[in-house]
């Protein structure tokens, strides 16, 4: 089974890198850009009997290592 994990800074957490990227896009002439967020994407393969157990394992990985839930939110997609 394959899983994708998206990790983003929580709303309210200052993300100066994303802000700088947004400013750079504006500098290139890309007008009308609103909020820009920069995150991480993990793709992993794992053995699991079904999607629900795969999701539970990946969510555990997020809580314990992949995300820092003080400052980041995560979203898990399971592809069978």
């Amino acid at each position: 089974m394959r899983a994708k994990v998206h990790i983003y800074p929580k709303p309210g957490v200052l993300d100066p890198q994303a802000k700088a990227v947004g400013n750079a896009l504006a500098g290139l002439g890309f007008d009308g850009i609103g909020e820009l967020r920069q995150g991480k994407l993990f793709e992993l393969e794992l053995e699991a009997s079904d999607a629900a157990s795969a999701r539970a394992r990946v969510e555990d990985m997020c809580e314990r290592l992949l995300a820092n839930t003080v400052i980041e939110n995560y979203r898990v997609e399971i592809e069978e």
């Binding site: 309210g12 957490v13 200052l14 100066p16 890198q17 700088a20 314990r64 290592l65 992949l66 820092n68 003080v70 400052i71």
Partner: protein
Amino acid sequence: MKAAVIVFPGSNCDRDVRVALEAVDGVAVDMVWHGEGDFEAADLIVLPGGFSYGDYLRSGAMAAHSPVMKEVVARAGKGVPVLGICNGFQVLTEAGLLPGALLANAGLNFVCRDVHVRVENSQTLFASGLEQGAVLRIPVAHHDGQYFADDETLAELADNEQIAFRYAAGETPGPANPNGSVQDIAGIYNATKTVLGLMPHPERAADPRHGGSDGQAIFAGLAQALG
């Protein structure tokens, strides 16, 4: 006092802090490799500065799950004092021994210069050599030093007097707060004041030959408090 300095792959202030500790009378230091699941009893555990695991994933995140950290967390739970400096502070937050997190500096630059910090709570064993309200001149050297915690956590830190140091105005150039830390926080304690994390490097201001020795009082005070 016997101190254990934990050495992760990528630590680079481990020897500096050892020198600063050994300069105090009666202090012995063990260097403990991160792969050790167990190590000799120590009165103080130090997590040094550096770039453990190349700051992979997030600063301190990989080190927080090193074999040795299980033992550090267990001993901290029994009340053994733990001092985390710079990357060590990041490791302590990632390991859950201190609340909050360290984000990239607000200015996105690596900041390496002297700053001033005010002693916010001198009633701890880490600050026994410091005066309440005293302002120390100590260097910082970090990219991810912006302390962040949510409002609820910040209120708890204030109520429990867990804020150890705040950046303060001084004669050094540049803004007093070098990284955008919330409420100018430079260092915090855990609830029992037995774990301290701070971004500035007291071991780099521990001898007049460093250009300043304000940090030395932290090591001397610890040695006095812990015997």
